[in-house]
Structure formats: C-alpha cells, structure tokens
C-alpha cells in the first residue's frame, strides 16, 4: 500500500492552487494567472465524511470549491516535470471551502488568505484513492451538487497548469513530503452554502462524498 494512503495521519501540509481553471478565474472577475497562485491550508482543516462543515465565526459567505487533490508519496524538491508521476502516491477528492467575504477583504487590503481558506473543517476530503483508479487524472469529471442541484460540473482537462507543471513548480520552493496534498484548483460554478445545506460531490464515479453545512 502507498505511504500516501496515510495522508491524514502523516501529511504536514496542503498546498492549494488558486484560479487554475479559466472559467473559474473569470467568474470571480480575476485575470488568468501567468504562474500558479499558491496558498496553504493546515492539516487541522481536514474533515471526513459524517462530520459537518462549520461556517467560521463572522463569515457570511461560505463558498464550495470541488477539487482534485494529489497525494505525495515521497520526498522531493526541484522535481522535473517528467519525474512527477513517481512522486504521486494517489489522489483525493476535496472541497476547498472558502470564506469568500474574508477572502474579498484580504484581497482588498493586500493581506494573506489564511483565515479565509484554512479554518477548521475547510478541507473536507474523501478517503484515499489509489493511483490505478485514476488512469488519466488530466481527463476526469469533477462535479458538485447543493441540495440535489448541480452547481459545478467540470473536467480536469481544463486546468491551466497541469499536474506535472504544478508539482514541479511547487517543489522548486517547498520540499514535498509523504502525505502532503496538493489541491489543484476548482472549475467554475462556485457559490454560497448555508446551514442545513447538503453538498454532494464526485470525481466522476470513482469516488463520491457528502457533507452537511452547519453553523
């Protein structure tokens, strides 16, 4: 079994990529990035199925963002793009829950995104997905429904920066370690969720998961 399968226990960082789908960058009025936009969530933000996503104190606009997560299998820095597959242990389906009002304020003030992105329960994740279950991670459907209505329905082929490009770029600055997770960005269709909502999402039909939102 891949070491990466224990990402919840051993992983020490979650590196997230912002605006990695053109249609999503556009829907929030942002330009297409020239290089990957990186931010972190702490591992304390992980949430497993069966527990509720909690709206953080003071937040009035909690958005869903469904994303493909790449789980790192072994330590690497300055990884060449061609070697990236050797460093990937598997995948997870993840939600990059975002306090959009906190983020809007941070962007306006030139402040960090941490509070908007890293609060407890901001990273609901599926169980580990072995590599062989996702033969082509660059052509798989990512979908999300709120209370049964489809909100996001994209495909990883529309990433601006591919998984090898992202992992290679990130590893130039941050040494990647076993169990670290990279969230590769969300397709368009992000939007608010409210207490009582049920979020269902999936990576095609390889894995699906469901969460409720509470105060």
């Amino acid at each position: 079994m891949a070491v990466a399968a224990k990402f919840r226990e051993i992983g020490r960082k979650i590196v997230c990529v912002g605006r990695n789908y053109g249609a999503h960058a556009a829907e929030l009025g942002n330009p297409i990035p020239e290089k990957p936009i990186l931010f972190l969530k702490p591992t304390s933000s992980y949430l497993s199925e069966g527990k509720s996503i909690k709206i953080p104190k003071g937040c009035s606009s909690l958005h869903h963002e469904v994303e493909l997560g790449v789980v790192i299998e072994r330590t690497g820095s300055n990884i060449p793009e061609t070697a990236v597959p050797d460093y990937i242990g598997g995948y997870v389906l993840a939600l990059d829950m975002t306090a959009r009002d906190f983020q809007d304020e941070a962007k306006k003030k030139g402040q960090p995104w941490t509070l908007a992105k890293g609060f407890d329960t901001s990273c609901p994740v599926s169980s580990f997905i072995p590599k062989d279950k996702v033969p082509n991670p660059q052509n798989i459907q990512l979908w999300l429904k709120v209370n049964g209505a489809t909100k996001q329905d994209g495909n990883t082929k529309d990433m601006i920066f591919s998984i090898p490009t992202l992992v290679a770029y990130i590893s130039q600055f941050f040494t990647l370690e076993p169990g670290d997770v990279i969230l590769t960005g969300t397709p368009s269709g992000v939007g608010p969720t409210n207490p009582g909502d049920t979020i269902q999402c999936g990576l095609s039909d390889v894995v699906t998961m469901q969460f409720t939102v509470s105060k």
Copy 2:
C-alpha cells in the same frame, strides 16, 4: 519533558502573525491592524543551526524578521485567554525570513503571501526553550545583528496583541495541536540580507543562534 519539545518532529503547522509591533507596521508603511493578521508557513520551512538560509529562486530582497515563537503543548480550540498558559509548552527563537519583493507583489495583486513566506529555509529556529527559562514572555528582548551590526533590538512588551490574545484568537478558527508553533511578529528594523551575510540573533541571553545566507 514537554511534548512541545519535539515540535520539529510532531508539529504540523506554523501560524504567523503579521504587523504585531507598531514600529514595524509603520516602517513598512502599513496601518496598525485592528485584529491579528495571520498567515502560515509549512513545517518544511524549518531550518536548524548549521545549515544555510537559501534565497529562493527569483527573490531579490530577502528580509530578516526575528520573532518569539510559542510552542503548543496540547490540543485546543476556542481557548479562553485566561487558559492560554496551560496550552503553552515552551518557546523558540525564530526567523520569519521573507521574500519582500514576492510579498510586495502579492499585496499589490491581492494574492496570498505563501510563496513570500513559506519557501524552504524560511523558518530558521533555535532548539526548544522550556517554559521556565522565560518567566515573563511579555517582557524580553529580541535582537538581531547582520555581520555584527545591530539591526533589530525590540522587546516583546511592545506587541500589539499579547500572547494570550493571539492564542485565544487563533484557536477560534484553527484547532491548535501539540508541536504547532505560533510566531508572534517582529519588532522594527527588518531589512535585506545577501549571500555571505551572517545573521546572529537572540532572545535576551536565554538563547542565541547564528545562520549564514547563501544563494
């Protein structure tokens, strides 16, 4: 021995506070914050004495920021200010090395600070300092010299938000876990360092450390 003493092995996040000394906020032309400004460094950014601080690729202005780090002893969220001492296992002296040019660009574009703050070697730290070595963490000198010349010489009594206020605030959003570290901000006097420079810094005379800077 405190569990916190193993922060390098077991800790999973480094929560940093920006602009927590008035004179430092002023020297970079920033307003005094109304609430703590939080960002993260990954634990992969830790560096121990004997290894060099490396200027990240593309950075042309790497700044030193000497800071007091608080090491968490046990898990807590929504910690009341009065209970904070029970959650602290000890301290570390730390450098919040900052790619100031990356940060300036991020601030201008409303983007995250992660690349500016979290690159490999961006968090040089001392060995663990047991709690009883710092009887009053809110009145102790923090100093830093570059090539023998004093650049920073402040006192933790000048923090805008005290340690109990910071820990209580952070724990409302982020569950704190054993070995997590909180960097409490830097006094004034930050400035650039260049390849070949030697940085010496100390927490009064309780602990001192030395690092060289390389390409």
